[in-house]
C-alpha cells in the first residue's frame, strides 16, 4: 500500500489580537491508499483545522504535509487550487451545492475548472451521478431534491475528477439517521468497490463506526488511533 497522506510535526496557531491560540500541536499521521478513516473529537479539538490543512484550504504554521509523496503544505494558492480540483473531493455538512443549478451542472462544476470538453464533461457527470444512484434526476435543482439526494449530488461532484481522496466534513450532520446511514453505506461502497480513500470528520460515534480506522483528536493532538475491528456494514445500500 502506498501513502496518500503523511503529516509530520504539524502545528497550527491562530492569533487573536495578542493572544496566540494553538489549534494543532504537533500532529504525526500517515494514511494509506484505500483507507476509510473517521476523525473524531469535540468542537475545538482541532479536527476541523486538521481537515482544512489536509484539504489545502489552510496553511500549517509549521510542519510538513505530503500528499502522495509531494510536499504540498508550502505550495502557492494556485497550485492548491489545482490540487483541490484534481486530487481532493470535498463533501460538506451543508451540501454546498449551487442553487438554481441542476444536479448535472453542479457535478460538472469541478470539470469546468480543468478544461474538459463539453461532451466528455457531460458523460462523466452522468456516469458519477448514476454511480450515486441519481441517474434519473440529472435536471433537478437542489431545491427539488431531498437532503439525502443533495448529499449524493455533492458526493458525485467530489468524485467526478477521480480524486486521490475524499474529505467529508460531517456529511450526515444535516440528515436524519436513516438517510445518514444510507449516505454512510454509499461511502463504504465507494471505499470497498472503487478503492477510494475517504477521510470523514464526525463527532457521532455511531457514524464513526462505519469507518475502518478511528482517530480521536483532543486539544490539538491525537489521543487515540485504532483500527475498527467491527465495522458497521450497511446492508441495504
Amino acid at each position: 500500500m502506498s501513502e496518500v497522506i503523511r503529516v509530520e510535526n504539524l502545528f497550527k496557531t491562530y492569533r487573536m489580537g495578542d493572544v496566540e491560540v494553538p489549534a494543532l500541536r504537533g500532529i504525526n499521521l500517515t494514511i494509506e491508499r484505500g483507507e476509510f478513516v473517521a476523525v473524531m473529537g469535540s468542537s475545538g479539538s482541532g479536527k476541523s483545522t486538521f481537515m482544512n490543512i489536509l484539504g489545502c484550504l489552510d496553511r500549517p504554521t509549521s510542519g510538513q504535509y505530503w500528499l502522495e509523496g509531494e510536499e504540498v503544505g508550502s505550495l502557492s494558492a494556485d497550485a492548491w487550487a489545482h490540487i483541490r480540483n484534481k486530487r481532493i473531493g470535498f463533501v460538506f455538512q451543508g451540501f454546498n451545492l449551487l442553487s438554481r443549478t441542476t444536479a448535472l451542472e453542479n457535478v460538472e462544476l469541478p470539470m469546468m475548472y480543468n478544461g474538459y470538453a463539453g461532451k466528455e464533461r457531460h458523460q462523466r457527470a452522468v456516469e458519477v451521478l448514476s454511480l450515486v444512484g441519481l441517474g434519473q434526476r440529472l435536471d433537478h435543482t437542489p431545491n427539488r431534491l431531498s437532503g439525502g439526494q443533495q448529499q449524493r449530488v455533492a458526493i458525485a461532484r467530489a468524485l467526478v475528477n477521480k480524486p486521490s481522496l475524499i474529505l467529508a466534513d460531517e456529511p450526515t450532520g444535516n440528515l436524519d439517521s436513516a438517510t445518514g446511514s444510507e449516505i454512510m453505506g454509499l461511502f463504504q461502497r465507494l471505499n470497498t468497490d472503487q478503492g477510494i480513500t475517504i477521510i470523514l470528520v464526525t463527532h457521532e460515534r455511531d457514524i464513526a463506526e462505519y469507518a475502518k480506522r478511528q482517530i480521536v483528536f483532543r486539544d490539538g493532538g491525537v489521543i487515540s488511533d485504532k483500527s475498527n475491528n467491527q465495522v458497521l456494514v450497511n446492508l441495504e445500500s
Binding site: 484550504l57 443549478t101 451542472e105 469541478p110 475548472y113 478544461g115
Partner: protein
C-alpha cells in the same frame, strides 16, 4: 479554453438571476440610449443649421458699393454708381475661386395682374442667380442669357406672388404689369419659406437685370453683386481676389480706400455652428453622466452580488477555481451586463431618435462613430466598475467563504 469556460460560467450565473441582471443593465441601457439619442439630436441640429446656412450660402459673397471718404469728406451716394454689371462678368471670367456672379438690383414694386395687385420685391438678376441662391424652378424656366441681351420683358415669380395674383391657376404665360410695363411670366419658383429674420423669400418677382436697369429703374450701375465661391473654404481667397480685381477695374490708387465692400456670411455660420456645438457637448455630457451613474449601478449590484454569493465563491474555490478564475468570472459578468446593456441601449437610442424624427419631426442624426464609442465605453464601464468587486471576490478566503451564511 479556460477563457471560454469562464465566459460560459459567467453567462450561466447571469441567467440564474435574470431579473436582477436586467435591472442592473437598465442603468447602462438608459445611459447609452440617452447618449445615442442626445448626440443624435445634437448632431441633427448641427446638420440642419449647417444646411440652412449653406442654403443661405456660406460660400456666397455680397459686394456692395461703399461710401468712399476722400480728404475727410464722405462722398456718399455718388459712389453708389461704381459697381457695374461688367464687374460681375469680369469676376466669373477672371477669378478661378468664383463659380458664379450675378448683379442684383432691388426695388419694391406694385405688380398687377388682371384686377388684382400686390406690392412685392422686384429683383433684377442674371441667370447665374439661380445657381448662386440654389433656387429651383417649379414650372416654366428661369431667366436666360438671351433675356439679358434683349432686356426682355419676362419675369419669374415667387410662390407668394403667384398665390396673391393667380390663386390656384397656373401663372405661366400670364401677363403681369409693373409700372405699366407688361411682363410675361415664364417661370414659377419653388417655395423657399422665410428667412431667419422672418422675411418671406417667396414674396418676390425676378426680371432680367438689364430690364430692371433700363425699363424700371433707368440706371446704368448695379446695386450689388452676389457671388458664389467654388467652395466654403475658398471664400477668403475669393474675397481677396475680388478686392484686387475691383481695385484694379475701378482704378483705385495704392493707399486709397476701396469704393466697395465685400461681405460674407461665414461669421454668421461660425456663430450658429458654435452654438450647435455647445448644445451637442451639453447634451452629450448630460448623457455621459447618466452612463457613469449606470456604471456605478453595476458596481453596486456586483458588490452586493459578491457578498450574497460568498458561499458560491467558496464552493467554486473548494472544487478548484483559482483566484483569477473567480475574478475573471465576476469581471466577465460585469462586462457582459454592461455590453449587453450597451447593445440594447444603442438599439433604444437609435429607435428613439428615429421616433423623434418621424413623429416630432426633429432632425436627428445617428452617427456610427458615437454608436461605436458608446458601445466601447459601456464595455469599459463594465471593466472599470466590475474590477473592484471582482478583485474582492477573488481574494476571499475559501474557508470563511464556505462558512458564510
Amino acid at each position: 479554453m479556460r477563457w471560454l469556460m469562464t465566459f460560459r460560467i459567467a453567462l450561466r450565473a447571469l441567467a440564474r438571476n435574470k431579473l436582477r441582471a436586467f435591472l442592473t443593465m437598465l442603468g447602462i441601457i438608459i445611459g447609452v440610449g440617452a447618449v445615442i439619442a442626445m448626440v443624435a439630436i445634437g448632431e441633427g441640429a448641427k446638420a440642419t443649421i449647417r444646411s440652412q446656412i449653406s442654403a443661405l450660402g456660406t460660400n456666397v459673397l455680397v459686394i456692395l458699393p461703399g461710401s468712399n471718404v476722400q480728404g475727410g469728406v464722405r462722398a456718399g451716394s455718388g459712389n453708389r454708381y461704381t459697381l457695374l454689371d461688367s464687374d460681375a462678368r469680369a469676376m466669373t471670367r477672371e477669378l478661378r475661386s468664383i463659380a458664379y456672379a450675378s448683379p442684383v438690383l432691388r426695388r419694391q414694386e406694385q405688380v398687377i395682374a388682371g384686377n388684382l395687385n400686390w406690392g412685392t420685391l422686384a429683383q433684377g438678376v442674371a441667370p447665374e442667380f439661380e445657381q448662386i441662391r440654389d433656387w429651383q424652378i417649379e414650372s416654366g424656366r428661369f431667366l436666360h442669357e438671351g433675356d439679358m441681351d434683349s432686356a426682355a420683358k419676362v419675369t419669374v415669380i415667387g410662390q407668394t406672388v403667384a398665390r396673391q395674383l393667380f390663386g390656384n391657376d397656373d401663372p405661366i404665360d400670364s401677363v403681369i404689369r409693373i409700372r405699366n410695363i407688361p411682363f410675361r411670366v415664364v417661370g414659377l419658383l419653388v417655395g423657399k419659406g422665410q428667412t431667419g429674420h422672418g422675411q418671406d423669400q417667396d414674396d418676390t418677382v425676378m426680371v432680367p437685370y438689364t430690364t430692371m436697369q433700363k425699363r424700371l429703374m433707368r440706371i446704368t450701375y448695379v446695386q450689388s453683386i452676389v457671388v458664389r465661391a467654388i467652395s466654403a473654404e475658398k471664400v477668403p481667397e475669393a474675397q481677396e481676389q475680388i478686392t484686387l480685381l475691383l481695385r484694379q477695374r475701378h482704378r483705385i490708387a495704392e493707399g486709397r480706400e476701396d469704393d466697395f465692400t465685400v461681405r460674407n456670411l461665414s461669421d454668421i455660420a461660425e456663430a450658429a455652428q458654435s452654438t450647435a456645438r455647445v448644445m451637442a457637448v451639453l447634451l452629450g455630457s448630460v448623457a455621459g453622466i447618466s452612463l457613469l451613474v449606470g456604471g456605478i449601478g453595476i458596481m453596486n449590484i456586483m458588490l452586493v452580488s459578491v457578498t450574497e454569493r460568498t458561499r458560491e465563491i467558496g464552493i467554486r474555490m473548494a472544487v478548484g477555481a483559482r483566484g483569477r478564475d473567480i475574478m475573471l468570472q465576476f469581471l466577465v459578468e460585469a462586462v457582459v451586463m454592461a455590453a449587453t446593456g450597451g447593445g440594447i441601449g444603442i438599439l433604444l437610442g437609435i429607435g428613439s431618435s428615429e421616433v423623434l424624427k418621424l413623429w416630432a419631426n426633429w432632425p436627428t442624426l445617428v452617427s456610427p462613430s458615437i454608436v461605436a464609442i458608446a458601445f466601447l465605453f459601456s464595455g469599459a464601464v463594465g471593466v472599470f466598475f466590475g474590477f473592484y468587486p471582482a478583485k474582492k471576490a477573488s481574494t476571499l478566503d475559501p474557508i470563511d467563504a464556505l462558512r458564510y451564511e
